[in-house]
């Protein structure tokens, strides 16, 4: 039954963001812009050591600084001093031990941020410094001091698929490394906590998941969840880095203690310490294949460094393991993936979530295989590409389109760009490093698979309320959800779906907060699917109520009819909606229908490399991605362009440099992300092969392009240079070193 009407700005159109003009005017209120009468400022004292015992904390001198309102330590945590996204193992404020450099130890509130910082420096913490555990493989195999009660293995996922210990005519092996990447969202961690007279607190915050924050904060504060009310404020990007708590509990503690509104804003250096990063990885791969390039088996061992606390390491491990052979048919799979505790910075969610690391390894292996059997890199991928009906290494049957061959063909068949003749087209760009001499061109490919939504038996749902009323003679729908807008354009998509479902032009999006049920996280490319699904269901309920009043069910709605039927009534429907269930992976074999949906993207990268100086210019990136249904085609392009840029960053420049557990480059001076001069023009094909199980047939969009751009770019550099390049980011010295 189709009862929708085509209206302006519905699904499939390029509706504009409702917050675009405010943002362009500088009037959009981000969490760091908030202000409150009588507001004071909070700051965080952090551990300078990656691993140390705390022998004493003395706050006497800090309290004497004029203007200081409160100085708090672990003794002041009102509830349970332990939290965690999946697994509570992290103190709100360190007690007897610190496990990473930057771990919060104490808090100060004062009337000026500089006063708070000065008082913070007067807190005396005595540390007994311990040798840090920094080797991932030692941590995985019991060769390091246990940092937590149950040892250092957060999770070990084994995937055993098909006959084991098979042999093949052609064998290629490789060891690969991925450095620690930072989300580098531009809006720093920040929020405003406002205490209420009844001992409750309101927190205005930039986050990815209001209810997960609320649950963790409430436990730490020793309050029932309803006494911790969260409202989303403007979010300056997220990319996974806001899925864990940063200053949430701290600001609430200071507000409840001082009785005043407390604002906390990290600076960029503190931001590098204040959120989780992408897991660095070390990966050992062996591919066996026939002489004509058909994969016979894949064996892999993947080590992911989870750092000091678990965060979402368990789920990242499951992704790397279950997606570890890529979008290929592989009859025999033996994958072991470990996520471990070390004294490195905690790692957790970042766009691509475990799939990024594995893809760098398996795609590098595909190129080695192509070389070994004398095939073109696209051809070897096509020969092994999965399609609808394929069986994943988990035994799960892929029951919706998997157009891997089509994506690869699309990017391969695009015309190649001409050689540049402008200086800015050259490696080194405006830096005058070459005018074309010593420059070699290379072309490379990458293809990705990513699960959409939460997997592994997680109860993944969203809640949406839709209210339909007539205001000033006009039908107005308002949408309320706790699903978080972080910049990706969820607010636009919610308006589009509502317009399409209800035939109403005016759709208001209410503030996102915890006064409505959980919507799950803005992560895993899931919100358009899950909250979009919930919204469609809520709109259907509203429509049903309307039809009941009209007395029939099969006519298109139109605005005037709604106004006439509704009068002064309000239709108000709340729906909790979940996608089909997923199942827990078998702990011994990794078998199970663990994922709800797969998404695919392919990239072709063209690079020019100055082989003399080691400089890389990415000349062009071509991407093809299947999105099932493009709810907002322009926004889809924006996701592909932005995701691709982050993959480019990982390929050639981005890495948090660690030395003995310490971050050596916590600034945008030393942690480089791509500028407009680094990002080339893109050519993009968007496929719409509907997934019959998903709302509108859509697929999650955000993550796949981040995954496949990195291996494509590195493959192109290899093609230009002949270097092995088994580690990202690739730096000039890796290209020019003698092999």
């Amino acid at each position: 039954m189709t009862t929708t009407v085509a209206t302006q700005g519905g699904i499939g159109t390029n509706a504009q963001r409702p917050d675009g003009a405010l943002k362009a005017r500088g009037e959009f209120a981000y969490s760091s812009d908030l202000w409150h009468e009588d507001m004071v400022w909070g700051v965080t004292l952090r551990s300078p050591h990656p691993y140390a015992r705390i022998t004493s904390i003395d706050i006497t001198e800090a309290l004497r600084v004029p203007g200081v309102q409160a100085v708090l330590t672990h003794e002041d945590v009102p509830g349970t001093n332990i939290y965690g996204l999946e697994h509570p193992d992290q103190p709100v404020l360190a007690e007897d031990v610190v496990r990473y450099q930057g771990e919060p130890v104490a808090l100060v509130a004062a009337d000026h941020p500089e006063t708070a910082r000065r008082a913070m420096k007067r807190i005396e913490v005595a540390y007994e410094v311990l040798p840090p555990v920094v080797n991932t493989e030692d941590a995985a195999h019991g060769r390091a001091e246990p940092l937590h009660p149950n040892g250092n293995v957060v999770r070990h996922v084994k995937v055993r698929h098909g006959p084991q210990d098979v042999r093949a005519d052609v064998v290629v092996t490789g060891e690969y490394e991925v450095g620690m990447q930072d989300q580098a969202f531009l809006g720093p961690e920040s929020g405003l906590a406002v205490p209420a007279d009844d001992g409750s607190v309101d927190l205005y915050i930039a986050t990815q998941w209001l209810h997960a924050d609320q649950r963790q904060i409430a436990v730490a504060l020793g309050l029932p969840p309803e006494k911790v009310r969260l409202t989303l404020s403007g979010v300056g990007g997220a990319f996974g880095g806001r899925e864990d708590l940063s200053m949430q509990v701290h600001a609430c503690m200071l507000a409840l203690r001082t009785g005043k509104p407390v604002k906390m804003v990290y600076n960029r250096e503190e931001s590098f310490y204040g959120h989780v990063h992408r897991h660095p990885a070390r990966m050992y791969y062996e591919h066996g294949a026939t002489r004509n390039g058909k994969i016979v088996y894949v064996k892999a061992r993947i080590y992911l460094d989870g750092g000091a606390y678990a965060s979402s390491t368990g789920a990242v491990v499951a992704n790397a393991a279950t997606l570890g052979v890529g979008p290929y048919d592989v009859p025999s799979v033996t994958v072991d993936c470990w996520g471990v505790y070390t004294n490195n910075p905690p790692c957790g969610a970042m766009r691509g979530f475990g799939a990024v690391q594995a893809a760098f390894a398996y795609e590098s292996q595909m190129d080695r295989l192509a070389d070994a059997v004398g095939l073109d890199p696209v051809e070897v991928r096509i020969r092994n590409a999965m399609s609808e009906g394929a069986v994943m290494p988990t035994g799960q049957v892929v029951d919706s389109p998997a157009p891997v061959v089509e994506l690869l063909t699309l990017v391969r068949d695009k015309p190649l760009p001409a050689k540049g003749n402008d200086l800015t087209d050259m490696p080194g760009g405006v830096s005058n490093t070459t005018h074309g001499e010593g420059v070699v061109r290379g072309v490379g490919y990458g293809v990705s698979i990513k699960n959409v939504g939460f997997s592994d038996s997680f109860d993944d749902y969203s809640t949406v309320r839709v209210r339909l009323s007539v205001i000033g003679g006009q039908a107005v729908a308002s949408v309320h959800t706790a699903a978080v807008e972080v910049g990706q354009g969820l607010v636009t998509v919610l308006q589009q779906i509502t317009r399409t479902e209800l035939g109403v032009d005016v759709v208001t999006i209410e503030p996102m907060d915890t006064s409505i049920g959980d919507a799950g996280s803005t992560s895993a490319s899931r919100q358009t699917y899950v909250t979009g699904g919930a919204l469609r269901a809520a709109c259907a309920a509203v429509r049903a109520a309307l039809f009941e009043r009209i007395g029939h069910t099969d006519l298109p709605l139109d605005h005037d009819k709604i106004v006439e039927v509704l009068g002064t009534d309000v239709i108000d429907e709340v729906v909790e909606w979940r996608h089909r269930p997923t199942y827990r992976l078998d702990p011994e074999t990794g078998q199970g229908n663990a994922h709800v949906q797969y998404a695919f993207a392919a990239h072709r990268a063209v690079v020019d490399v100055d082989v003399e100086l080691g400089l890389v210019k990415v000349v062009e990136l071509v991407c093809a991605q299947d999105v099932g249904k493009a709810i907002n085609p322009e926004a889809v392009l924006g996701q592909i362009q932005g995701g691709t840029a982050q993959g480019l960053g990982l390929a050639v420049m981005e890495e948090i440099q660690l030395a003995d557990g310490k971050i050596r480059n916590p600034s945008f001076t030393d942690y480089l992300i791509p500028t407009v001069l680094d990002m080339p023009p893109m050519v993009i094909d968007v496929l719409e092969r509907p997934d019959p199980h998903a709302p509108y047939g859509l697929r999650g969009v955000g993550e796949p392009p981040t995954i496949s751009s990195t291996p494509a770019i590195v493959a192109a550099i290899r093609a230009a240079t002949g270097m092995a390049l088994t580690r990202v980011p690739v730096r000039p010295e890796h290209i020019t070193e003698t092999s």
Binding site: P48, E114, R117, G428, G429, V430, S431, N432, T433, T434, H435, E437, G438, E612, L613, G614, L615, K617, M653, Q657, A659, R664, N665, S667, T669, D670, L672, P674, T675, L677, D678, R731, P732, E733, T736, E737
Partner: protein
């Protein structure tokens, strides 16, 4: 950030007397480096003398064909100045390859001369750094030192000077004019910055109470065939791994004039005099260029983290000289 007094000076005598009376005072020019360092508690002056209103903003042709540049000329203004673009293209190029447009709009010539190193350990107040805290040690030695110096290093410091502009000034034999209550003196550019030795916290030959008032460029005919190249990790807005400023004149097939300076490799802009000696009078061939580069880098001392810079510097020198030969031919 420590508290400090803020004084705004309207003329040079006021500025130099203000600082003469305050041993821990600092001049504030564009502020693009000092404000950041103060915020990080790396610089902790008790008095700031704001000199941005001093009348040191001229770019003037001198009777001998040289150019005098006021210390408060903004980097963007200098790079765009017709006198600089036509006579010293290498200086324009070097400035434009530093920082971003917004920073070049604020940064001054004097401030660029005096900017501090970008060593990661210098910026980390929890780390040992002989430059920031004399006698505390150097965590860069044995630490993460990929960006660090390979020429003129000591056992006390591996820091590099981060400026691009200064590399061009060193190549051009500029002179720095400074003033204090004791009077005016002139310091040759290649003596302005000093190597770390046992006192890495001493970075220049400027006395604590001296104000940089101007930079003078001599008339350098060969500068018309000059080039600045910068090798870095990102296409823009990143400090040099290695940079080269060079000017070359070839008569027939022989090098008759050459000037060469390196950036990103030392605590000072590194005038490559050994390479210049090898090149002068030598045939303008790839082979000579390689020999010259190797001669200059023979004295390099690297750590495993920055060993690549030796080869990179050599290849960059060769590449820029090769280009200048071609360019000279065309011209």
């Amino acid at each position: 950030m420590k508290s400090f007094a803020y004084v705004s000076a309207r003329d040079v005598p006021t500025a130099v007397s203000a600082i003469a009376g305050s041993p821990n005072a600092k001049f504030l020019g564009g502020g693009t480096n000092l404000v950041d360092l103060m915020r990080g508690n790396i610089e902790q002056p008790d008095t700031i003398v704001d000199i941005t209103r001093l009348p040191l903003t001229g770019v003037d042709l001198l009777p001998d064909g040289g150019v005098r540049i006021g210390a408060l000329v903004r980097n963007s203004h200098l790079a765009a100045h017709p006198l600089i673009r036509s006579r010293y293209p290498v200086l324009s190029q070097a400035i434009l390859l530093g920082a971003s447009a917004q920073l070049r709009n604020m940064a001054t010539v004097g401030g660029n001369l005096l900017q501090r190193t970008r060593c990661l350990y210098f910026y980390d107040t929890a780390a040992a750094c002989n430059k920031r805290a004399p006698g505390s040690g150097c965590d860069a030695i044995g630490g993460f030192n990929r960006n660090h110096a390979i020429l003129g290093v000591s056992d006390n410091c591996l820091a590099t000077h981060p400026s691009d502009m200064c590399v061009a000034l060193a190549m051009l034999d500029a002179t720095v004019e400074v003033e204090s209550t004791r009077g005016v003196r002139r310091i040759p550019m290649n003596e302005f910055h000093v190597l770390p030795g046992d006192t890495p916290h001493v970075e220049t030959s400027l006395a604590a109470d001296e104000l940089v008032t101007a930079v003078e460029l001599p008339s350098v005919a060969v500068a018309a065939n000059s080039r600045y190249r910068k090798v870095r990790d990102r296409a823009s807005y990143a400090f040099a791994l290695v940079s080269v400023a060079a000017a070359l004149e070839v008569t027939g097939t022989t090098v008759t004039q050459v000037r060469l300076a390196l950036g990103g490799v030392s605590a000072k802009p590194w005038r490559a005099t050994k390479a210049e000696e090898v090149l002068l009078g030598a045939p303008a061939t790839e082979e000579s260029f390689r020999q010259a580069a190797a001669a200059e880098l023979a004295a390099a001392t690297a750590r495993p983290g920055n060993e690549f810079k030796i080869g990179l510097a050599e290849r960059t020198i060769v590449a820029v000289l090769r280009e200048l030969v071609t360019k000279g031919d065309a011209a």
